[in-house]
Amino acid sequence: MTTTRRDLLGTALTVAGVAVTPKLIHASDHHDHGEHDHQDVPSDPALRVKALESLLVAKGLVDRAALDALIDVYEHQVGPRNGARVVARAWVDPAFKARLLEHGTAAVGEFGYSGNQGADIRVVENTPTVHNVVVCTLCSCYPWPVLGLPPVWYKSAPYRARAVIDPRGVLREMGTEVPPDVEVRVWDSTAEQRYLVLPERPQRTEHWSEEKLADLVTRDSMIGVAKATVPGTQT
């Protein structure tokens, strides 16, 4: 905890004798002590991570099979399909929708989705007069039990920086024009709550099944940077 930035830089960028940014860290060493010999050592993160994994296994801190199991969860068991099912249910079942908007965590739990960063899920509803959009300006908080892991753009500096100061510009850049008479609500998920947008149900879907409706619910529509897919416009 008393780590200085200099220590951190050293640890961050070198491990197992691997000089990750030789120019930054070791250039001066090289001049001062001509013997210093890092140039053959590859610098890419894949090797650093592999070295760390071997070290943590050797120390008894990590079981490789546990890593495989966790990766299987991220890749195959969670994802935006979960959220799409929740949204489609809310579109066809008014009682569920009421529970979802009042107690998001419990209503999402009816599908068996819970855990980790989704410990407290809050669902906010788009209407003809209100458009919601979600961001985490400080890091990358995201309702992963219902959406899976966040896309790169959600974690990127441009989105985190501008979503709060120019949400209409960000939405336009991402292909969604919000009319001037519609209110934009930005949810900056700063502490413990994770947000899911309930997009508007597209028109002319009155007799659609819940399962078919779920196909219209994109990840981006549940972050609030897009609307649900309009039937007949799927690509």
């Binding site: 780590t3 640890t11 650093r48 966790l70």
Partner: protein
Amino acid sequence: MNGIHDMGGMQDMGAIQREKTEPVFHAVWEGRIYAMSNAVQGTGKLKLGLRPPMENIPPLDYLRISYYEKFYVSITERLVASDLLTREELQRGTPDPGSKKSDLALSPSAAVAAMMKNPPTRRDLPVAARFQVGEIVRARNINPATHTRLPRYVRGKSGEIVRDHGVFVFSDTSVYGQGEKPQHIYSVRFAARELWGQQAAPQDSVYLDLFDDYLETV
């Protein structure tokens, strides 16, 4: 800390780059490091939170390295801070000679179970709420040099309490193992014009979840 991670309101970060179809992980190592972070966190033995080490990454590196490289920085710093790993071991890539092998490694089922129920930060405690729904409050002008979830762009600004989320562990102290300091978190609505002036649309707003300690009466 007033660091580069506190990005809300900056305008010079470029265009938002989107991939048409994005894989969960772009490389095998991304999944491995993310899983390692969760597997070690699941042991409950880490004495430092996930975010402080990421926020301590020097700004030029913070902007240059990828999301999952930040996880590498974070997990190694947390292990060192928790006396589970030494810097010498990290440099060398092998355990210190003579060191005892730990039995902390979680089995696959235990690791998945631990991730699914990540230690809840909600506390069922009778802590009094200092503010009520409907009240106008001001975000305090504080500038801690340590982890905080009060972004710079709302400090000194006034907003309305729209919801009381209940009592939670105070992350500003708990991430350093300095006590839970349980307190209410409120959803606070700030008018976009309060934050950004007349260039913002009059009906727009930004909602933040703020701890009791971040707020004061107007």
